[in-house]
């Protein structure tokens, strides 16, 4: 994983609650055995007027001009602004793969579904929880004639808007550490392999039926 670097990006406002992972990447794309290439099919059913199929070239497909991703103001956006319970539904990691492949690095929402929230960190995406009032305000600004740009500082845990306003955010220290250094979390856990082996030995005594 690449280390998460500070950046300034355009905010794409997706004004919906309960956006589920099937809306983020529809099920037909789950048949892939790859981890990449999902970006062109991110939000496929909302983004295009026809139905996408895996392996198909997306460049000639009719676009839904009413959908935010197709709005020229938000071209190249790297920050997704949305509402409550983002990423609910299926646990498919294809959802953060698609978001990352498209170029989103940060998500701003009121709340997330648990599994999706974890999956984001595993893929170098920083999902931030902000107060509903802040989210409302950001929607108002992002919907203006000029796109809203935000500077993201992971080290300092702050977002800076174009007008100089600073919005602090929370992030779990372990998650922050892994993101900042682009760490392989499995490698981190394997540093404790002796503790794992010791646990297994205890467990073998306590619950031998799990080792039969």
């Amino acid at each position: 994983m690449q280390p998460f670097a500070n950046f300034t990006g355009v905010v794409c406002p997706l004004d919906r609650s309960n956006v589920d992972t099937d809306a983020i990447i529809p099920k037909q794309f789950l048949k892939s055995i790859q981890r990449s290439g999902f970006g062109p099919n991110l939000f496929d059913e909302w983004r295009y007027l026809d139905t996408g199929e895996p392996g198909r070239d997306n460049s000639g497909r009719p676009l839904n001009q009413g959908f935010v991703l197709n709005d020229p103001r938000y071209a190249g956006a790297s920050i997704l602004l949305t509402r409550a319970n983002f990423g609910c539904g299926s646990s498919r990691e294809h959802a953060p793969w698609a978001l990352a492949d498209y170029g989103f690095k940060v998500i701003l929402a009121e709340s997330y579904a648990d599994i999706f929230f974890n999956n984001c960190f595993e893929n170098g995406i920083l999902p931030l929880v902000l107060d509903p009032e802040v989210i409302d305000r950001l929607f108002a600004q992002a919907g203006g004639p000029d796109a809203l740009r935000i500077a993201v500082d992971l080290e300092g845990q702050a977002l800076t808007l174009g007008n100089g306003e600073v919005i602090p955010f929370e992030v779990h220290p372990y998650r922050k550490h892994c993101l900042q250094h682009g760490l392989d979390e499995i490698g981190q856990t394997l540093q404790h392999v002796e503790a794992i082996a010791a646990y297994e030995e205890r467990r073998r005594q306590q619950a031998p039926w799990l080792f039969a």
């Binding site: 048949k31 319970n85 709340s111 648990d114 999956n119 595993e122 794992i196 467990r203 306590q206 799990l210």
Partner: protein
């Protein structure tokens, strides 16, 4: 030591070590299916890692398998490659696989308990959100992403933060004809789809204790639809009787020793939860969802609510959007909604008890002419075999239902079983999201008995009035 919740006990027994406020949690069991595992195995290969304790995993293809003409194999080449990739990965890494031709094949959350691979007092994961199903056994079971599948394969552990605890107590007895599905839909209607976010929910109360193991699995299956990390139900003698004698369960003296330990997996009297919700079991009626989220649910004698009279503008907008998608108008009686297709199956409601309940309603009746397709998809090979031994397949066929091979099928429409745009379905599955059962498809979640009742009447109807 104060009084502990069931969740506390499961958590404490599985902590390998703490690091700050996170724990390295040991995972006893992992289930694997074809959709969320290929990239995990690929990750192992890239890093030159081997699975730790391969025998603690069990794999099965279910999402992509056809429910017809199994002998012909999978026609869709992309889906076929995915299933073959699972076969290759399991062979390479020494993981037990119930392959497509195996009589034990079925939906991952049906075969785990059926094989006795799901055991009380364990931690269990799967790259699938409905892993919450196994919480019915007093196991801490939750869905994970593919990176975490790889993590568990390589280390048997996950870095976890303890959730908050919620008790949902369904008090009293439910009325006759009310099923586990009605109960859990009523619960989600009450707390909402984000109501359980950040929590592990323990379901308790007399109405939960009265449920069979199948019913308890239905309830825990949908805990994820309430946003919870996991659902739990305390171990009792029903749990232990269900597990006894299953192929992967311990035997003889070891079983008795295990059972003695399993009996400790319940919340102690006086245990404190972060939140407690009470529901009156006696007031629960058969439930039907009308929108695009499981919380958009009403009793069968209810009507579709009016977004214009909702105080919360965000909520009103959500309902407006849902009604537009569903092709329904506010104020419509639930019993006036007419499905085009009927699907009985999925890890929520495809076990033998579900099929018995459905067959009891189907017996001697006919599917209405207005229904284009009514299908029953058993959850697993053993469920199918048992149902056929009891003659349930004949009852379904005579009534006009198709009787299929086991798999996920039209629960998520990854195989050929799907709705056409605009089609409306009475479904026993767990998600009514936009496009879930096919692009533009409209899903109404119900119990198996209510699905058959709708098939027979041509519209939703209170199964108790048939």
């Amino acid at each position: 030591m104060g009084a502990a919740t069931l969740y506390d006990k499961l958590w404490d027994e599985h902590v390998v070590r703490y690091q700050g406020d996170t724990a390295l949690l040991y995972i006893d069991r992992q289930l694997i299916h074809e959709v969320t595992s290929p990239q995990a195995f690929e990750g192992l290969r890239i890093h030159g890692r081997q699975p730790r304790r391969p025998e603690a995993n069990l794999a099965v293809p279910d999402h992509n398998v056809p429910t017809t003409r199994r002998a012909a194999g999978i026609l869709d080449p992309v889906a076929r490659l995915q299933v073959e990739t699972l076969e290759r990965n399991c062979a390479e890494f020494g993981i037990t696989l119930f392959g497509m031709g195996d009589p034990r094949q079925g939906i991952v959350h049906v075969i785990g308990p059926e094989a006795g691979f799901t055991l009380p007092g364990t931690t269990m994961v799967c790259g699938d959100s409905h892993t919450s199903t196994h919480g019915a056994f007093g196991a801490l079971a939750f869905g994970i992403g593919t990176s975490e599948v790889e993590h568990v394969l390589a280390t048997r552990c996950l870095v976890q933060r303890k959730s908050k605890s919620m008790l949902i107590s369904v008090d009293g007895a439910v009325g006759p004809g009310i099923t586990a599905k009605d109960l859990v839909l009523a619960i989600i209607g009450e707390i909402g789809t984000a109501g359980g976010t950040g929590y592990v929910i323990e379901f308790g109360g007399a109405a939960i204790r009265a449920l069979s193991m199948e019913g308890r699995m239905t309830v825990c299956n949908m805990a994820i639809e309430a946003g919870a990390r996991a659902g739990l139900i305390a171990v009792d003698e029903k749990t232990i009787d269900y597990v006894r004698g299953r192929p992967y369960a311990p035997r003889g003296e070891l079983f008795e020793r295990a059972a003695a330990h399993w009996r400790t997996f319940h919340s102690d009297p006086g245990a404190v939860f972060d939140r407690t919700v009470h529901l009156d079991g006696g007031s629960i009626k058969p439930q039907v969802t009308w929108g695009t989220s499981p919380e958009m649910v009403a009793p069968i004698d209810g009507r579709i609510p009016n977004p214009e009279s909702m105080g919360d503008p965000g909520r009103a907008e959500g309902v407006r959007r849902a009604l537009a998608y569903m092709g329904l108008t506010a104020g419509t009686r639930i019993s006036d909604i007419r499905p085009d297709k009927v699907f009985i199956g999925s890890c929520t409601n495809s076990r033998i008890e579900d099929l018995r309940a459905a067959a009891a309603v189907a017996k001697g009746r006919k599917v209405a002419d207005s229904i284009k397709l009514a299908m029953v998809v058993p959850g697993s090979g053993p469920v199918k075999e048992q149902a056929e031994a009891e003659g349930l397949d004949a009852i379904f066929r005579e009534a006009g239902f198709e009787w299929r091979e086991p798999g996920c099928s039209m629960c998520l429409a990854m195989n050929a079983d799907r709705l056409e745009p605009g089609e409306r379905c009475a479904s026993t599955s767990n998600r009514n999201f936009e496009g879930r059962q096919g692009y533009g498809g409209r899903t109404h979640l119900v119990s198996p008995a209510m699905a058959v009742a709708a098939a027979v009447a041509g519209h939703f109807v209170d199964v108790r009035d048939l």
